[in-house]
Amino acid sequence: NDCYSQSYPQLYEPGQRSLYFSKGAFIKCALHSCYSSLVLFFVPYAAVRDSVSTDGHDIADHQSFALLTQTCLTVTVCVQLGLDLSYWTAVNHLFVWGSLGMYFLVTFTMQSDGLHRLYASSFPFVGTAHNSLDQVTVWLTVLLTAVLCVLPVVVHRFLFMQLNPTINDKAQPPPPRRRARIRRSSTRCSGYAFSYAYGYGDLVTSKRFLRRPVPLRSAGSTPAGRSAAFRPAGRSAGYSPSGQ
């Protein structure tokens, strides 16, 4: 909320420094995608290459392999998404679990007997989901792929959080108490966009907007700029060292 953003004005710095939208960020994203793509193809490939199902029938046919790769991808994406979501409200739960459920629902519908009877040439995958998704190999492959794709991301994030935390990590809210707290679903306040504007640098450095002279807590922090015409009421009047 706005009070929180005013107490941690450094949260605007990543935007001004183009920290998340730069060539470096693109290259990191591209490397992660390359690695994930290779894992998502070669792990299922190696797992079913020379194998058969539990009753000796085909498991390495084109349709089963396609379904296996698709399932690996969907599950990995959902796990990665779960990692990225920082606030799990009821709506988030609905959409994440719902996506996964919809995928299986649509797959089974498209590969059902009824649709094949109606349009045989358009729905040739009849029976594939039924025959391959009850194989233990398939689910173990899905689990392995999800682990191999997501764990490096967790390691990377955790390492950087420990060694070189960004301002977002430092400004994390205190760990939530067990009862349902009322909180906004975004840490960044609505004034985010205005950090790209030319700004109020002159106003800030001239200290004209401060109601009372307060010692700055550390050299790195700069108080949030607000136009002199706006009169904030209550505790957000100026920067206070206790961070309230």
Binding site: S51, V52, W88, S121, Q135, L144, L151, I182
Partner: protein
């Protein structure tokens, strides 16, 4: 509703003060604390190592044997098949192999092809599923995807049309067991039940007929490379003719990779000698060598294999689990060290 009560005023279009609209829904907020991350890593490492060991033990209990018969003892047939003029001539050869240890349980026989790309896009498109499901209209007018295997030179529609059906594998095998103290015995195989249930009963149907199957296929021609018409593929079993022929169905399920194997038969354990499986000893396969592979530098083989609840013999998954558990454990150690040295007191978190 609150909007109606306010009416027209400066706050008339203000959204409702509900938790949903004001984004105040109760939320769970997970965060990457050292506690959770490290315990997840150690836990996952333990789970992966247990899974890996369990799978490794299971896979060790499967047996697989491959007998490559492209050349070698079948050289005469290999040379003969180089010339299309010999296509109608029969050629029979024998390949010998030894089973070192008895294969206990259900034993499956496969024919394998190396370097045959059934996953080529144009090849996979060259079929007509509507024809294979038994529609009369598609039988007489095959889909244009089947070109150039849709109509023969006399203008008759080909049934089944397409390149996939045309290149059906037509070698046949007879497995013989040479007993130490007794005559050679033909190993009995189940040649039914090798397809998926959905394939046999839903995806493939013969065209409906009141008379014989031959009548149903009147006015169609057999594919160019076939030796027998589709209604006479299995002279011994009348239920295994037409589009529902098991070998045809197994072949029509295209493989994903260029090196694949397809089920040929399952050991019939009703016979006294084979009631426990395949005994150890000397075997030979009598092969009717028809399928030419030198055009695509391919190879043919026979694969004999047992299966477990995990499937066939594939060491990749157990080894991959063990390796990833090792890597996860190393990562967990490294992260613990870093956390203890650098992050524990929250030194970096001050601002």
């Amino acid at each position: 509703m609150a909007k109606n009560q306010v009416g027209a005023g400066p706050f008339a279009r203000r959204p409702d003060n509900s938790a949903f609209k004001q984004q105040r829904l109760p939320a769970w907020s997970p965060s990457l604390t050292p506690h959770t991350v490290l315990s997840v890593f150690y836990g996952l490492s333990l789970i992966c190592v247990l899974l890996g060991i369990w799978l490794l033990i299971t896979v060790q209990n499967t047996y697989q044997l491959k007998v490559d018969y492209t050349n070698g003892s079948c050289k005469k047939c290999f040379e003969m098949r180089k010339y299309p003029a010999n296509a109608t001539k029969n050629c029979i050869c024998t390949a010998n192999f030894k089973v070192p240890k008895a294969f206990l349980g259900d034993v499956f026989f496969y024919y394998g092809l190396i370097n045959f790309h059934q996953n080529l896009r144009r090849y996979m498109d060259s079929r007509d599923d509507a024809q294979l499901v038994g529609r009369k209209k598609s039988l007489k007018f095959p889909s244009t995807y089947c070109k150039p295997f849709a109509y023969d030179e006399n203008g008759l529609p080909i049934a089944p049309c397409g390149a996939v059906a045309n290149s059906k594998f037509n070698d046949s095998f007879r497995l013989v067991y040479h007993q130490l103290d007794g005559p050679a015995v033909t190993v009995p195989l189940h040649r039914r039940g090798i397809t998926w249930y959905t394939d046999k009963n839903i995806k493939f149907h013969n065209p409906p007929t009141n008379t014989t199957l031959q009548e149903a296929f009147q006015g169609t021609a057999q594919p160019l490379y076939w030796q027998r018409p589709v209604y006479d593929l299995d002279p011994e079993d009348p239920n295994n003719n037409g589009f529902i022929n098991d070998d045809l169905i197994v072949w029509m399920r295209e493989a994903a990779f260029p090196n694949f194997k397809k089920l040929y038969g399952i050991l019939n354990r009703a016979h006294a000698l084979f009631s426990h499986g395949l005994p150890a000893g000397n075997y030979s396969i009598i092969i009717t060598y028809n399928f030419p592979v030198q055009y695509f530098q391919g190879k043919k083989e026979v694969v004999v294999s047992t299966v477990t609840w995990f499937g066939g013999q594939n060491y990749f998954l157990p080894i991959a689990y063990l390796v990833s558990s090792g890597m996860t454990f190393i990562a967990a150690i490294v992260l613990t060290v870093i956390h203890v040295k650098v992050g524990r007191d929250g030194k970096n978190m001050e601002e």
